[in-house]
Symmetry: C2
Subunit: 457 residues, 2 copies
Amino acid sequence: MPGLTEPVTDKEAVAATRALARYGVASRYDQLPAAVVHEAARAIVNWAGCAIGASAHQTVENAWSAMRPFAGNAQATLLGRRERTDILNAALVNGISSHVLDFDDTHPDTLVHPSGPVASALFALAEHRTASGPELVNAFVTGVEVECRVARAVLPAHYDIGWHITATAGVFGAAAACARLLGLDEQRTVWALGLAATQAAGLREMFGSMAKSLHPGRAAQNGLAAALFAQAGFTSAETAIEGRRGFAHVLSTSVDIAKCVEGLGQRYELLGNTYKPFACGLVIHPVIDGCIRLREAGVRAADVERIDLKVHPLVLELTGKTAPRSGLEGKFSVFHSAAIALIDGAGGEAQFADGRVADAQVTALRERVRAHIDPGLAMDAAQVTVTLRDGVQRAVVVDHCIGSRERPLSDDQLDRKFTDQCELVLGTERTEQALSCLRRIDTLGDVRECAAVCALH
Amino acid sequence: MPGLTEPVTDKEAVAATRALARYGVASRYDQLPAAVVHEAARAIVNWAGCAIGASAHQTVENAWSAMRPFAGNAQATLLGRRERTDILNAALVNGISSHVLDFDDTHPDTLVHPSGPVASALFALAEHRTASGPELVNAFVTGVEVECRVARAVLPAHYDIGWHITATAGVFGAAAACARLLGLDEQRTVWALGLAATQAAGLREMFGSMAKSLHPGRAAQNGLAAALFAQAGFTSAETAIEGRRGFAHVLSTSVDIAKCVEGLGQRYELLGNTYKPFACGLVIHPVIDGCIRLREAGVRAADVERIDLKVHPLVLELTGKTAPRSGLEGKFSVFHSAAIALIDGAGGEAQFADGRVADAQVTALRERVRAHIDPGLAMDAAQVTVTLRDGVQRAVVVDHCIGSRERPLSDDQLDRKFTDQCELVLGTERTEQALSCLRRIDTLGDVRECAAVCALH
């Protein structure tokens, strides 16, 4: 690809791996539109808030206690924690903690949670090797653009088959971002993408278990490792994405390689990024939004005879657990989510605690929730109809859920989400420092300033 | 599964992940047939010889130099080297070095190279946590049995689609072996297998590049990590192999889950293991064998007008490179292999050096090799017909190649292979010590004795 402003030709579309590498090598901070830089900061704020908020979660504790005896020197921060570790383990643990509450960002067109793999890898690397804010932001954008385009090239079959696309596309994003921050040349960036391709893994079967959060962690760690290997001259195939036995054709049956490079440097996938208001799978959000609105309109849970939901088909495929046994499983139950939203008027982490899932009132209401598929509904839409004990029905139609691209969280709402997640971990003062630092990340001379305020001391 | 001597029922065949876990937990050294213990020692000797022989290979150097700045404490040996590192990086590097010369063992029924992932993980773990020879041998057998059965359950489509099955099945083998050595209970072993499933990766597109050797390295490292994670209570899905979005259905279109558990504890896949006499892809071996026999029968390369090969279809699919540019690519060229075998009368590492691939005489002969597919040929068979400049034809039919299950390398031949590979690295005396130690591994009180003599000091 000759430059960022010239269109990609057919031949280049075929050589997608190399075209993506060229894009990465050519990317410059001063060529990024202001809106893209702004969205990068929003995404990074949201990523850090999620990772800090979940930093003491059992999933994170277990992962870190498993790896700690074998980890390297104290090179990088574990967000929200006291310990420091080597950059590869930091990328792993921060990737896990950023995802464990299912509160991270979502790129709705691809179902990728883009920031976890990319930011977790980059922030760890940036602590080992000095990086300015502009360098980090540019590498972050590069990673997200590569990640989402690789995802587009293999959708929809890739996800349908059973791949957790945040893992499989995420490793490319982390590799591309780290290759950029390391300043790798085109050939080594091709290798980094190839080494990412051959480490792409992560099964949807794991949803509802701790292993789901391992996915963005490993994507971050393996993408970072891919860039480090490539830097050391460790080679891969040249056609890792588009080759006959390459990533796209092996992990999908609906391949459109041209999508890897479509609009590179012209159209920014990052601008389509969204941030969750609720701590669970995105597909349930319209239902939660609707139930909260009904509660705000005066519906009391005690009066409810039954709840009927009209939902997008993916809702039952992804979140059809009728009798969740833990908070983690509750995040994959539209039934629990509807009940708890009507009772609590919220969908935060507290609503997905083990105790709330086992609560008698919640269980009783959950059993009176019926979900009906409506293939005509958009992913961010739902209809909630409550039948009261006296026979009266109350209904709400959610066209675009809060947090969707059409109704995005404002900067203020994102800041509040960050503050809510971080205050219990970092305290008020440090939370304010961390937010202020992350908000102006593109102006920092050394991004280690951010890492320092996002850790305990 | 109630015990090792009772057949697996239909229901257990469906719950394959748990059945494999039960098998692992129930496995005992004193229940292993003597032939299985003997074959385990042969496999381990071959594995260690390959890893030591390749320990200074550029692929290994690059991998280790990439990871070294981030590695943990000196817990485990890098075979054939002076350095020690944490057990996860040791598993990675030893897994890479065991495979890089394409000289490792092969389970012909599945095309898995079984020992690299399993032994590399186990030997590293055994240095961190004392293990006796019998414990290690039992864990090794457990790993190989799980690995080969998981492979059988997804073949043939899994390999045809483009997965490097040594990587994807290998991670299960490493996880099962390490879970056994750690003494994990059934539930944690299920999680270990689940965490293996969701890390299964490795593309055939990488063949001919350094990334191919990354596969068994990562399989060893990630399988070991899976067991360590599970030990720490890090959960996975319960149906990681057989579930709708699990390993088998996501990574294959020809799934026979029952094969996961067929004959567990009754029939040993390890007894079908084979060891390569030549330092390249197994499918080329019959051709090399035939060319060496023709040379021994008096054919001189200088007299050859053309060479016609009849080969199994996989030969051209896997090793069809007509103009290899490096030694590594030469291993994937049946044309180079035929030429060099006729010229040198050998197929060792020297025949796949970069210089030999570029040699004018070799290149000239290589261009006169023609390969013809014969779907009726077995994988270990080939026919080589040489047409001399005077018009005379000389032909040899190889029914079963040297190193095949029907013509296995003897213990003496395996020992010689080990010695040939190790002497240049370890010297004569230490090579003898290492071989002696590995040969009686099932009698050792602490297998660290082996690790110590397989390293430089």
